[in-house]
């Protein structure tokens, strides 16, 4: 899917919340400037539980290089991060930790569910007693990425989609 601004335009994302009317021209314009600024300096949290974390590292490393899009400032503490990329399976023991990490992040905060496990439990959906069937049972998710594990290009696409979503005022 092409996510360049010409193609997506101002089309709303699915589930987008439209801002209520009533703000003056000054306030709405200011919102746009703020959203633009936010979308271009997303700092991801270093959070990887399993295989997807390796692909996330690949995305950060030399060949795919996510700093081209402004994500290179990966933070180890949730208090400095804007976006949490759930890279890997979330199990019952990890779920409270994930919730706590999300709570510790400062607003505005965004969530990307990377890979099948974080989206729905994926390969661990059936026959297992310990896996949370999708990270959205624990925290709200903005963008889902398919794949097991997704290619680095897929993660880049998700990150760019998140930027689009923030710019459109939908998140």
């Amino acid at each position: 899917m092409d996510v360049s601004p010409q193609n997506t335009g101002n089309k709303p994302f699915p589930g987008e919340v439209h801002p209520t009317a009533g703000g003056g021209i000054l306030v709405t314009r200011l919102d746009e400037v703020i959203n633009w600024a936010r979308s271009n300096s997303l700092w991801p949290l270093v959070f990887g539980t399993s295989c997807c974390a390796i692909e996330m590292m690949s995305t950060a490393a030399a060949k795919y290089d996510w700093s081209r899009f402004g994500f290179e400032v990966a933070r180890a503490t949730p208090r400095q991060a804007d976006v949490i990329i759930i890279a890997g399976t979330i199990v019952n023991k990890m779920a409270p930790v994930l919730k706590r990490l999300y709570d510790q992040m400062a607003d505005p905060k965004y969530v990307i569910a990377m890979g099948a496990c974080a989206t729905s439990g994926g390969p661990f959906f059936y026959n297992t007693y310990s896996v949370v069937k999708g990270a959205d049972h624990v925290i709200p998710v903005d963008v889902y990425v398919a794949g097991c594990p997704p290619r680095p290009e897929a993660l880049l696409h998700a990150l760019i989609s998140l930027q689009e979503k923030i710019r459109s005022g939908g998140s």
Partner: protein, 371 residues
Amino acid sequence: MIEELGTTEQGDLVINLGPQHPSTHGVLHLVITLSGETIRKVEPHLGYIHRSIEKMCESLSYRQFIYVTSRMDYLSSHINNHGCALCVEKGLQIEIPERAKVIRVLMDELTRLASHQLWWGAMAMDVGALTPFFHAFRERESINDIMEETCGARLTMNYMVPGGVMADIHPNFQKKVKEFVRYFNTKIDEYDELVTDNIIFKSRMKGIGYLSPESAVSYGCTGPTARGSGVSCDIRKLYPYEVYGRVSFEEVIDGGGDCFARYNVRMQEMRQSVSIIEQLIDNIPEGEFQAKTKAVLKLPKGEFYSRVETARGEFGVYIISEGGTTPYRIKFRSPGFSNLSALDHMARGHKIGDLVAIMGTLDLVIPDIDR
């Protein structure tokens, strides 16, 4: 027993490291008792990525359960698949074609290289050098490209199946592997120049985290961790499987027992892997890549065990079969679990900064430990 966080009666500080911490390489949780900055005790807590893989395998058929095993030790997924395929073949008593054997060994060694490259980058990052990470991933991507062409995946391959391999190698495989080997031979010297000979790196590594050969054996350490303590334990040499008995390579053993010895073992292993690949790449025999097997596999009643050498150590697969299409019970012996158990022994008396270096040289993969 879980010690309470805070201060003990002796005035020691009990703190958490993880489960969310960049240097634990995943979601390992360590409860550390500190006296000042000196480590008194390290208690690993597991289960943050326990996905009940062994239980899952009981409801999957002998062809299906391979895919979950590549998600255990995802850095040596080929070798995990290999171990499981070997165990099923042992039960079925089938001999796989020569071509499949050579392809399997080639893939194993490429995986080992990719895994050690990632370890090298991540370990250097742990002790404070950020550049090696980018160098390591640059080379790792060329291996990923080779894998992708033949197996269709970059990380979790599911390429080795009972009876051989899933598909034949890509026509470009030999050309690309040779190109990679030529390229990597120059880069591995660069690795040594960049990190191994670095004086700061040496002082962070030498004399840190000593593990004697006796304790390595008694903790059940395998792989580069035990070989760094001078214990000979390479399954490829001791119990050769596939064509390992016929290729010439050395089991790398370093008697130092400290972090630098373990580091050195892995660096030398990369060179050995390259040499194995060089010997086999021009000698892939013609023929079938898969033996003829039945559509539904049924293992006879009994117990079967096979082991392989992953990038981290000995990986064992133990299948108990009741004669049906699914295993009655599967037990995986993962190298990371035993290696982690020696962490407390190695870290005691060192500073907390050294703990990160010690964990780095153990090369822990947490889903491999928790399963």
